[in-house]
Symmetry: C2
Subunit: 281 residues, 2 copies
Amino acid sequence: MSLLDRIRTCQIWDRARYRPFRIAGQAVGWVREDFAERLREFPKLFRISAAAVDLDPGLTGFEQRSTASAEALLVLKEQGLVPGWRNEPYPVGGDFYTPPLMQMERAAVPLFGVRAYGVHVNGFVGSGDDQRLWVGKRAANKQTAPGKLDHLVAGGQPMGLSLMENVIKESAEEAGMDAALAGRARPVGFVSYITERSEGLRNDICFAFDIALPDSFVPRNTDGEIESFSLWPIAEVRKRMAETEDFKFNVALVNIDFLIRHGHLSPDEPGYVDLVEGLRL
Amino acid sequence: MSLLDRIRTCQIWDRARYRPFRIAGQAVGWVREDFAERLREFPKLFRISAAAVDLDPGLTGFEQRSTASAEALLVLKEQGLVPGWRNEPYPVGGDFYTPPLMQMERAAVPLFGVRAYGVHVNGFVGSGDDQRLWVGKRAANKQTAPGKLDHLVAGGQPMGLSLMENVIKESAEEAGMDAALAGRARPVGFVSYITERSEGLRNDICFAFDIALPDSFVPRNTDGEIESFSLWPIAEVRKRMAETEDFKFNVALVNIDFLIRHGHLSPDEPGYVDLVEGLRL
């Protein structure tokens, strides 16, 4: 077991089994071959070939595409094919800065291999070998990754909020932080990956934020999603990540980036180059 | 002009014009087609085809390959084809952590598109909007990038030193720093690129280091390679990089990574994702 194993977990993708999912000719995701066959049930909505899954080009515009797709997804949901429905619309298509081509229920996003975005906030105290990191333990009843170790604050990026607005909203809900404190979070880059998980293909950009916290700060979860928080010596974070899968898969990736950026890993040690190269697609 | 232009400068490579350079069947670099034709002058050393340039497989072992290649490079040097000879052997092949397959004069490395390594040390004071960065101006008589703006300390990675040993050696030569101070440099990742420059194909990993400096520190160049140093407000560094090519091409890339890691750029601003994705191959 090693940190590199945490990277490899984010690189599990047999591309040959996937077909591009396209809207208006633009590739916006990846559909696995077996799910593509299930989509033949909706011939008015999807054009399925061995090469690709295209949304019907007759559907033009955000609203029309979103409404038609939502009807099909509800049928699939009834068939048990979209577990964990959340009623959270996610944007589909475009890049992060251009208007999306449609929206789609979050639970269906991995089934279409659509790129999703999230904010990942690491709260720390001190620096160097004495640095400590706040680690959350996800509630046992969380839908995804129950009981896994997490950041101080993290959340998916919904429609209609800026990343920084989302950091502030999630910081209040997950850690009881007021906007003045949460606003001190600094953006520090992102990690990205495409990897197969039980829910489908995760094609994510995790925007990373660091927040230097005073010794006096103690997080307090308000939405029931985090069972407990504790402040870990950085060496313990590293050891636990290297030796176990206790951290949620993408939290581990963001935390390896944290270890790199804060100088906790040496580039003279074999494996460093592979670790860094594995942080982004 | 924008920071993204600095990224694009590090992505100029018409791969179709290059052939893999192989040693013992392992691809270790890229040779441009015109230079490949010149290498036909050495039929005992290179096997040239439309698909690749192979070092003669009859040459086995580091010493034999290095000696035979050095003889050919001296002939090419006499023909004016290896400008800027430095008498600095660089490792060729293997990854950064495994023994190289041979060594090669540094000036020839871009002609064979061999991966090279360097250390790039940013010295800074303060944090947030008040952060300031030490900027060096390269001497007018420097062989590469004369007069361009540079880090506090940077240098190519020679055979036989660890990265941290090289940081300490270069910090003494370039900025007059003692080992105790230079040893406080923290490794923070790397940038990488393959791009065409006048000297050939640069296929580099630049290991980045940050060093937080006291206000009282003033660098002092001892090897004549840096003409002057000054402490720039971080906003000035950003502006100069966005609006000019005054920073050496790879220094700009490392500095964009610095801006990202220290929270000076917002992921809510269009272009951020492209910038970050452009920092590494």
